[in-house]
């Protein structure tokens, strides 16, 4: 059934139809509507869940980890400062192998205070062991959420997952979203059957002191789990397509078949870029685009497959790693380095703190990338 909803409410309805059993959250702009609607669902009995309204995001993540360790399907949502406050518990969720699913509304980090979008908040959590799905539309948000639960809870994965969407551009913008039939979804996403739980009838200790003789292997197991997630995400993405008509891949090409140049993008910039590609094609340019959907696990193989042999790759980053360059660019370069016929890779920083990135901006970046004297990385549209 199609409904016109905001990105935030897509997460709320998503939590409901995915039958999250314990939700714990703390309010932060622009995430508030997610938890407002969930609190209504729970209070009205539309959702068979417990909602713990905690006193901080740090506690929100801790409560989700506890509930997940007791065997429940758990969900939370946050943004920026809230995500940063959670940081310690993000590691805890992954290292405890609790498949918590969370919505993160991308928002710039203060100071100065900002509530508008960029990706530094979520990308700063790169090494916490969370899967990260970057969404270009509200439909993408819903589909990613369903796929994330299925992958995260797979007994060969058991790693948490973050659904990432742009502040306001998606969070507060209404779009038609196709919600699957509940019975069909229940079949696609059956209840979470935890392999290991905190259980007085079968008592075990979780997370006790572990020496150098064993800790190392536990980290390797987590890396293996992420590798399995990397195999599983395209499988579940394809399966999702068979069931609901919308297949998902980790790197989604647009008009790339014969393209000499490919623009690598993520989030809502990915959908704007498609329009820019159409116009550039009309102007006779040989260009396509690639949306990177999952940042972790990073789809190195798919990136290589798509970019190998191209003349040029342009990465647009709505983020930056201070002292280096855009983060998706670094990852793309890393994936391509050992390729014999690797393309030249150019990087643009754009749209930090929610500055609009329009079709004409993307086209301009394309043209700037063709000039040898354009600095790299280039901060596009900087007011001087």
């Amino acid at each position: 059934m199609k409904q016109v909803v905001t990105g935030n409410h897509t997460l709320s309805y998503g939590a409901k139809i995915c039958r999250a059993q314990v939700v714990s959250a703390y309010p932060i702009t622009p995430q508030t509507q997610v938890v407002e609607r969930i609190s209504e669902f729970v209070a009205d009995g539309e959702m068979d869940a417990i909602f713990i309204k905690v006193e901080s995001e740090h506690s929100a993540m801790a409560a989700c980890i506890g509930a997940s360790a007791a065997g429940a399907r758990t969900f939370t949502a946050t943004s920026a400062q809230g995500l940063a406050l959670m940081h310690e518990m993000l590691h805890w969720a992954a290292n405890a192998r609790t498949p918590v699913v969370m919505g993160n509304i991308n928002r710039g980090m203060g100071p100065p205070w900002t509530i508008w979008t960029d990706q530094i908040d979520s990308l700063s959590q790169r090494d916490t062991g969370w899967m990260q799905f970057y969404c270009e539309s509200n439909q993408d948000v819903l589909d990613s959420m369903i796929i994330a639960f299925k992958v995260a809870e797979n007994e060969n994965v058991l790693m948490p997952a973050m659904i990432v969407l742009d502040s306001f551009v998606l969070s507060h913008t209404t779009e038609p979203v196709d919600f699957p039939d509940q019975d069909k979804l229940d079949e696609f996403l059956p209840p979470y059957k935890a392999k290991y739980t905190v259980d007085p009838d079968n008592p075990h200790t979780f997370g006790g002191l572990t020496g150098p003789d064993r800790y190392y292997e536990l980290k390797w197991l987590e890396c293996e789990a992420m590798d399995r997630a990397k195999e599983l995400i395209p499988q579940v993405g394809a399966e999702f397509g068979e069931w609901f008509g919308r297949p998902h891949v980790m790197v989604k090409p647009y008009r790339c078949d014969d393209a000499e140049i490919v623009m690598v993008v993520s989030g809502t910039i990915a959908s704007t870029t498609k329009d820019a590609i159409d116009e550039l094609r009309d102007e006779g340019m040989s260009v396509g685009s690639a949306k990177v959907w999952t940042f972790r696990p990073f789809p190195s193989e798919a990136v290589r497959e798509l970019l190998r042999g191209r003349k040029q790759v342009i990465v647009i980053d709505r983020n930056v790693s201070f002292g280096h360059e855009g983060i998706f660019c670094t990852e793309t370069k890393g994936a391509m380095y050992n390729e014999a016929d690797r393309p030249s890779i150019r990087n643009f920083i754009a749209g930090l703190g929610g500055r609009d990135v329009k079709v004409r901006d993307i086209k301009e970046m394309f043209h700037l990338a063709q000039k040898d004297d354009t600095p790299d990385p280039y901060w596009y549209g900087l007011k001087t």
């Binding site: 059993q21 068979d48 713990i52 740090h58 360790a69 008592p203 200790t205 997370g207 006790g208």
Partner: protein, 317 residues
């Protein structure tokens, strides 16, 4: 034979053991004895959330455990909310009979963990928080905490600059939250621990129990004095044993004999530097605090008789 049966009846501490040998505690560790008796009261249908503290080591390194109940080790400041999360998980999975316990040291409870604890108390989450209080960060090597008492040496309050601030009044802080049950106990009084923890277990809502637990290396004393020193803490009234139910204070042990607090202090090297005047000052503080507690006990009991409650009034619905 008849006499033996009679004796057995008098035993109020359950025989069931949920703590086994092989733990890693120091000799004379008060926190370990507190755990043993708390578990006897709690029984096997219990889960523990344990933050960073001595007990994150005592239980035994992976893959060993010395307890017969499940433990979920958690980050320093999250014990209370981890217990809340576990409880929500148990409830939604239909395991409503599990007692969800947070078990933390004084630093994890009253310093870094007080926000999560205050949150759980405000929501009146159905958890039991037990703080074993050894009055400093013992696991990291005896640094001062908010529970370190006035006059004590620690590695961050050296003897020549001993701690000149009082122990944070955690009991009144928890009482201000209006939770249904608060108690203090002490590790040298097994029956008292069993009685209070059993009572707390059967009350729905957020319960807080703080158990004074000696730490021979941190308190600079010989391990064999561990029990004696805690008995003295209670009998000199520096650590009053009490319960607060619905805001009504009840001092559960009123020592008949007045024992000078110096007897308690002189057993411990952490107070060795104190002058006679300073010891006298502590005695005066102990005397006043005891009187204050007696007054709170009388007044809250009177309030209860008069108005039916001693906590802040809240809407019934």
């Amino acid at each position: 034979m008849a006499e033996k049966k009679e004796k057995k009846k008098k035993l109020t501490v359950p025989e069931e053991e949920l703590m086994y040998s092989g733990h890693l505690a120091c000799q004379g560790c008060g926190a370990t004895i507190a755990m043993r008796y708390a578990l006897k009261a709690l029984g096997p249908k219990t889960s523990f959330a344990i933050p960073a503290c001595c007990w994150s080591v005592i239980d035994g390194p992976f893959p060993y455990t010395s307890l017969g109940i499940p433990i979920f080790h958690t980050a320093f400041e999250t014990a209370a909310v981890m217990a809340s999360g576990l409880k929500a998980g148990f409830d939604i999975m239909g395991k409503t009979d599990v007692t969800s316990v947070a078990w933390g040291g004084d630093g994890g409870t009253t310093d870094i963990g007080i926000q999560a604890l205050s949150g759980a108390a405000e929501r009146n989450d159905d958890i039991l928080y037990i703080c074993y209080d050894n009055e400093a960060y013992m696991n990291t090597g005896v640094q001062r905490s908010s529970q370190t008492p006035w006059g004590a040496w620690t590695t961050t309050t050296p003897a020549r600059h001993f701690k000149k601030l009082p122990k944070k009044n955690m009991v009144d802080i928890m009482a201000a939250h209006g939770i249904p049950y608060i108690a203090t106990s002490a590790m040298a009084f097994p029956e008292d621990i069993v009685k209070k923890v059993s009572k707390a277990k059967d009350i729905k809502g957020c319960k807080y129990v703080q158990i004074l637990a000696s730490c021979p290396p941190g308190w600079k004393m010989v391990p064999e004095k561990s029990i004696e020193v805690i008995r003295l803490a209670v009998n000199t009234r520096i650590w009053p044993m009490l319960e607060i139910e619905e805001g009504v204070y009840n001092i559960t042990r009123k020592p008949r004999k007045e024992i000078p607090v110096a007897d308690y202090l002189k057993l411990q090297g952490r107070f060795r530097h104190l002058t006679e005047d300073q010891v006298n000052e502590i005695q005066e503080i102990v005397n006043f605090n005891w009187q204050r507690l007696r007054w709170l006990e009388e007044s809250t009991q009177e309030m209860k008789e008069k108005y039916g409650r001693a906590t802040l009034s809240v809407p019934a619905g």
